[in-house]
């Protein structure tokens, strides 16, 4: 019998191979994130005195909206070919399906962020990407992807899945978005790390609680 990491590895390999061939998810996400940054850059009258208050929100709008695009596609290939039943009929831990999808979504979002973050820094005239900022972006992404992966599985079973997914994800991810924006603002403003520690702790708590919760309830979400 395949071990749990082996199951996750097989599922992740399949998702990455499909994405490598179709570029359905990543291409759209990157273009969308960059477009959001460009539009906000032109839409707001960003001067030195107000950029710090607005820019972190712009950054997370780009990340979360691009993330929604990717999350919305993550279970579609399984639903379209009926392959989700194939996975559910296999002798694998259903948590492995969730974890593999989460890792895939995290990877896609991280690639988008790695491209969009330097563009953001350049557009809004911030100095450089610090380790603190990278940590905040990573923790915020983990929390968002954790709940997003679960809800994308739920939305895949609904008719209006493109509409349902944001409606389900955004309310529950409000804490992670607020904490991410606040911590990002502090990091970009050059505040000492200790000041953003509270927000970072909130992100870690959210990631742990919702990561475990979503992993546990995934079995019930996909059960017919």
């Amino acid at each position: 019998m395949t071990t749990f990491p082996g199951q996750v590895g097989a599922l992740l390999w399949k998702d990455l191979l499909v994405e490598l061939r179709t570029r359905e998810i990543l291409g759209g996400m990157v273009v969308f994130a960059l477009l959001v940054l460009v539009i906000f850059n032109f839409a707001f009258d960003l001067r030195v005195d107000n950029v710090g208050g607005v820019a972190p929100g712009v950054l997370w709008v780009a990340f979360t909206f691009a993330g929604i695009l990717g999350l919305g596609r993550s279970f579609i290939q399984e639903k379209d070919g009926g392959a989700l039943d194939g996975l559910l009929a296999a002798p694998i831990d259903r948590g492995a399906i969730y974890l593999a999808k989460l890792l895939g979504n995290l990877l896609f979002m991280t690639v988008v962020e790695a491209i969009a973050l330097p563009v953001f820094i350049s557009f809004f005239n911030f100095g450089r990407i610090t380790l603190e900022l990278a940590l905040i972006v990573f923790l915020g992404t983990v929390g968002f992807a954790a709940v997003g992966t679960l809800f994308s599985a739920m939305a895949a079973n609904t008719r209006a899945r493109e509409v349902m997914l944001p409606i389900m994800i955004f309310p529950i991810s409000v804490p992670v978005v607020i904490a991410s924006v606040e911590a990002t603002a502090l990091a970009l403003g050059g505040s000492p790390f200790a000041q953003s520690l509270g927000w970072i702790e909130l992100l870690v708590a959210f990631d742990l609680i919702f990561g475990i919760l979503c992993f546990v309830v995934f079995d019930f979400v996909v059960e017919e």
Binding site: T2, G9, V18, P91
Partner: protein, 248 residues
């Protein structure tokens, strides 16, 4: 070749499949209504009946995809839903949909499912199975380039990638040409040449009589007729199924 998950075992009881009082509803509609069925090891059973009789639901319950609202289900001595994870190792399923990934090649699809089922060397296993379903030449072509019939051949190979002792086939001849349909016979024995236990649904009654040892007709979620396939024929089975459609 050793297939790691080959049923080491479940054959400790006489029955491969035991179903008692199986009931399932979709909303107000009752798909299965206290169905009883027992299938000994190595037997091939054709599950027949009109549309909506409960054939697919029965197979989905046995494949652990649907949790029934009532009844007892035991496969190879393992009870559902409690031992569903163990049951899944011993069954192969062909359903209405192929469970294949369009962007993967035929070989990659088999390797992927082989890995999920813990097959020791999925690549070698895929290379053995593809010629058996007549797809050796198309091994490295993506599934999206396949016709429905070729996809169905690959779905059959996928279902036996772990060499399961129990095979659940829901209208397996969908899209298959004559040569493809003939492949079914060969897939009903395992790698050691032993007969698999097979539950097969089909609307082709002649094929049901040909392939199965036993014919079971379901009407309104219950067993209405259960007899050896050798004792009946397609015309008699058609009459039994047609009776259901009469208004009285």
């Amino acid at each position: 070749m050793a297939v790691a998950t080959q049923s080491a075992a479940p054959a400790t009881t006489r029955w491969a499949i035991q179903v008692e009082g199986l009931t399932h509803r979709y909303g107000a509609s009752r798909a299965l209504d206290g169905l009883d069925l027992a299938v000994p090891w190595d037997e091939r059973v054709a599950i027949l009946g009109p549309n909506g009789a409960g054939k697919t639901t029965l197979l989905r319950v046995l494949a652990t995809l649907v949790r029934p609202v009532a009844g007892r289900v035991i496969l190879g001595g393992l009870a559902l839903p409690g031992q569903a994870a163990a049951v899944r190792r011993h069954i192969g399923l062909v359903a209405h949909q192929t469970f294949l990934y369009d962007e993967l090649t035929a070989r990659e699809n088999l390797i992927f499912y082989g890995r999920l089922y813990g097959v020791e060397d999925p690549g070698r296993r895929a290379d053995r199975l593809l010629p058996r379903v007549g797809l050796a030449e198309r091994a490295n072509d993506r599934v999206r380039t396949f016709s429905r019939g070729l996809q169905q051949r690959l779905a059959l190979a996928r279902a036996i990638v772990h060499d399961p002792p129990i095979l659940l086939l829901d209208e397996p001849e969908t899209g298959l040409d004559v040569a493809g349909a003939d492949l079914l016979d060969g897939l009903m024995t395992d790698d050691q040449g032993q007969r698999r236990t097979v539950l097969l649904t089909t609307h082709r009654l002649d094929r049901a009589v040909e392939l199965a040892d036993r014919a079971v007709v379901l009407l309104r979620g219950r067993v209405a007729l259960d007899l050896p396939a050798a004792d009946t024929n397609a015309v008699a089975l058609a009459a039994a199924i047609r009776d259901e459609r009469r208004p009285w």
